[in-house]
């Protein structure tokens, strides 16, 4: 299918939003220096941790997603919603939650102490653990989405032919994974590329220096704009290369159209497979929910004792989240094709610091950047959520196109009717998930607001940071819990909204 003008415009907007800020900063900086030894070291560590984190997240997500796809149990939906939480936590809150479980003074070490064991979380393994904590849920959901997209008719046929689980895997599941996994790997790899605070803290020190730290240091500390751009371009290049590789590998046709029926998984009824799935789900739930439980336990005491300004910050965050969700969905629908997915990856590949400072420079001649802090934050958040939304929408959007384009052509449907009657109704499930994820992500992300913030226009994550900066760690824990609940609520609402209609 040829790229439509809408897709081209959407792609140009992304490219403009990436190159514009880079160009604006370049205008200040002069010649780009070649990367020095420190940058190459940072590049090596960044690549290593991102590759390990992405591989492990996806490798663990496959059995988890399969288990969730094959089983129905009480609390399954709640669990799936809760599993979305790590991904949307503000970094600082996530770090404290993770270390409350895995740290020196954490629950795990408390449990191991009687046995005389001691776990040291700080190091490369800590970085990978933290990134898996963030991204395993995302990978699980993306892959689960793939499983749910296998038409029930195919599974019925497989059951009718009495295929063994191994044969079902070979004929249905492996081709599905071949379609879904490369994209999931790429998007997680790219998000891990720009890790900084988490990598440094869990990595235990300067061994864990990433490119993003180098950008931060160059821009905020040395005010060496040219060096910052060099490093930012290295990061962008890595991300786009990873995206290109993943798209080259992501092959495989769809399964053809079905009637969207859920059917029992006859192939997975054996006790051994049941036990295997139960173990997978329990392990993933424990790993992902324990840090959340620590955050909840810590914040519960001060959750109710919050200052009224919390509400204003929450309202700002909600507005930002709503706007960026609407923006992302429209944008992602336009970009839900192969080239679009690659372009969208750039949304998280550019350092948020470069994006923020570049936008600041671009806007300044026209309007006070502080006055537009919230719209700019919404735009930046939409851009950052775009790769995830496109990744979620694309497989199913493509299937719909493949399955119904001929029909639409035969009926001579106008684009508006096609969108309203064919595409959107069939995309409800991924749209709901993408909307939930974007809204929660936008809600929880500190984003560029930290560069622009107006004292009266704080968002909830900024509010949490301000409390911490003022020594009020207990109140910060309560506000963080509130933020977490709000993110989850929003995620649940949109995600469920998408699914209720699709199942009806």
């Amino acid at each position: 299918m040829a790229a439509s003008p809408v897709a081209i415009i959407a792609a140009l907007v992304v490219i403009g939003l990436i190159l514009g800020p880079v160009a604006a900063l370049l205008g200040l900086g002069g010649d780009l220096p070649a990367p020095g030894p420190a940058e190459w070291l940072a590049l090596r560590f960044t690549l290593l941790q991102a590759a390990l984190s992405a591989s492990l997240s996806v490798a663990l997500a496959i059995p988890t997603a399969r288990a969730l796809a094959r089983r129905r149990f009480a609390g399954r939906r709640l669990l799936i919603t809760l599993l979305g939480a790590p991904f949307i936590l503000p970094t600082i809150v996530a770090i404290l939650g993770l270390l409350a479980v895995f740290g020196q003074n954490g629950a795990l070490n408390a449990a191991l102490a009687p046995l005389g064991w001691r776990l040291n979380i700080y190091g490369l393994h800590g970085v990978v653990l933290a990134h898996v904590f963030f991204n395993l849920p995302l990978a699980t959901r993306m892959i689960l989405q793939g499983w749910l997209a296998i038409p029930g008719e195919r599974l019925r046929l497989a059951a009718g032919m009495d295929l063994s689980p191994a044969m079902v895997m070979r004929t249905l599941e492996v081709p599905m994974l071949a379609r879904v996994v490369p994209g999931a790997l790429a998007v997680i790899f790219v998000i891990c590329l720009s890790s900084f605070a988490v990598a440094l803290t869990l990595g235990g020190g300067p061994r864990a220096t990433t490119l993003e730290l180098a950008i931060y240091q160059a821009l905020r500390f040395d005010f060496d704009v040219a060096r910052a751009i060099t490093v930012a371009l290295m990061q962008l290049g890595l991300a786009m290369a990873a995206g290109a590789v993943s798209l080259a590998f992501a092959r495989g046709a769809g399964f053809g159209a079905g009637l969207d029926r859920t059917v029992p998984r006859w192939d997975a009824a054996s006790p051994w497979l049941r036990a295997q799935d139960a173990a997978c789900i329990a392990a993933a739930a424990l790993f992902l929910l324990a840090p959340l439980a620590m955050i909840a336990a810590k914040g519960a005491g001060t959750l109710a004792a919050q200052d009224p300004t919390l509400w204003r910050a929450a309202a700002h965050s909600l507005i930002v989240a709503t706007v960026s969700t609407a923006l992302t969905l429209a944008w992602a629908l336009a970009l839900a094709n192969r080239a679009g997915e690659w372009v969208a990856l750039a949304g998280i590949a550019l350092s948020p610091l470069v994006l923020g400072m570049g936008l600041f420079l671009i806007l300044r001649p026209f309007v006070s950047p502080l006055a537009v802090a919230l719209p700019v934050t919404a735009l930046a958040n939409a851009l950052a959520a775009l790769p995830f939304a496109v990744r979620i929408l694309r497989p199913e959007a493509q299937t719909v196109r493949e399955d119904y384009a001929r029909l639409a052509q035969a009926l001579n449907l106008s684009p508006a009717v096609w969108l309203r009657r064919v595409l959107l109704p069939r995309l409800r499930r991924p749209l709901g998930f993408a909307a939930g994820l974007t809204a929660a992500l936008s809600m929880g992300d500190l984003g560029v607001i930290a560069l622009f913030a107006d004292p009266d226009r704080a968002t909830l994550p900024l509010y949490v940071y301000r409390l911490m900066g003022a020594y009020r760690m207990d109140e910060a824990a309560g506000a963080a819990l509130f933020l977490l609940l709000l993110c989850l609520g929003l995620f649940w609402l949109l995600d469920r909204g998408g699914r209720t209609d699709a199942d009806a």
């Binding site: 020196q104 700080y122 440094l200 803290t201 300067p206 905020r220 502080l370 560069l451 900024l462 911490m468």
Partner: protein
């Protein structure tokens, strides 16, 4: 008729509003937050200046350097001594014109551009319940049992982290790299900024954290907790001084001058201790809150002038990085 009066009233009100001069002050986020000194300072200054003081939070120097001479800022508050060289070289700042006799810093200060408004000693803060005998020097920490751990901030991304490596460099000179190698086993981890490190410390992740000698005042005054203390080192402590400066291109020079004078006034200085949890820069000790007077103080303040600090900086960070990367 009523509507007309109302409209006329609106017009006069907005005219009056338009005439109120605005003083724009760039300040760090912690400074302007509702728990920081910003709101109190704004109220106190507006009560005397017939103006509208507007704080604009965010990164100070990067933003100012981005904006250059077209900046809207009239005054910048919250710079610190390790960036003054770069700030001065930008040519964006004007002399503050204040009499420095009122300063009560532990170091002598004669800079005509950057005006101190508060200060503290960079310190390792420890939890007495977990570390009954704190180290009394970096060497003592290096020789302490291995389970005596500290959480630091990265000198490449944090002001306090940078102050620490300069402190070690100032004390040990050529031996700094060796000292860092011996300290490395005691460094549990390094964080991007102060908040992460301090949050981990209060969660009990380590018995010690890089912070300021005045940090315990918060726990005593706000929480009644006397178990958090600053370890006092024999070799002296790095004095961390926060500064304000007038922007040379200001369109409100008189107001900016008035604000610079206000910074040294008791009204401003009295707000500092219990909102910024640091020592005021121009307030005699007997005017400090009791909790600050009771804090233990090091015998010696270490300070590097900006040229020395700039000369040592890259080397000090590199020694730190290499020692902690092994």
């Amino acid at each position: 008729m009523k509507a007309l009066v109302f409209a006329a009233g609106l017009v006069t009100a907005s005219a009056a509003l338009a005439e109120t001069p605005v003083l724009t002050v760039y300040a760090p986020d912690y400074f302007v937050s509702e728990w920081g000194p910003g709101p109190g300072i704004e109220a106190a200054f507006e009560a005397q200046c017939a103006c509208d003081l507007q704080f604009k939070p965010g990164d100070l120097l990067p933003r100012l350097l981005l904006e250059g001479p077209q900046t809207q800022a009239d005054v910048v508050i919250g710079l610190y001594t390790d960036v003054t060289r770069k700030a001065r070289a930008s040519g964006l700042f004007a002399p503050h014109g204040q009499d420095l006799a009122a300063l009560t810093l532990p170091i002598s200060w004669s800079d005509d551009t950057f005006l101190p408004f508060d200060w503290s000693y960079v310190s390792l803060v420890y939890d007495e319940t977990r570390l009954p005998v704190p180290p009394a020097s970096f060497e003592a920490l290096a020789d302490a049992p291995e389970d005596v751990k500290v959480i630091l901030q990265d000198p490449r991304s944090s002001e306090s982290g940078l102050a620490l490596v300069l402190w070690v460099k100032a004390v040990y000179g050529d031996r700094a790299g060796e000292i860092w190698q011996r300290l490395a086993p005691h460094v549990l981890t390094v964080t991007k900024g102060w908040s992460e490190a301090y949050g981990l410390f209060t969660d009990g992740e380590a018995p010690m954290v890089l912070s300021f000698s005045t940090s315990p005042a918060y726990h005593i005054a706000a929480e009644g907790d006397t178990t958090k203390k600053a370890a006092i080192f024999d070799e002296g402590h790095y004095a961390y001084v926060e500064l304000a400066a007038k922007v040379s291109g200001t369109d409100q020079p008189e107001l900016a001058d008035a604000f610079m004078a206000f910074i040294l006034s008791p009204a401003f200085q009295g707000l500092i201790p219990e909102t910024n949890w640091s020592y005021p820069a121009a307030l005699p000790r007997d005017a400090w809150p009791q909790v600050f007077r009771d804090l233990p103080e090091p015998a010696k303040a270490i300070f590097l002038d900006e040229e020395t600090a700039a000369g040592l900086r890259d080397e000090a960070i590199e020694e730190w990085r290499q020692a902690l990367s092994q």
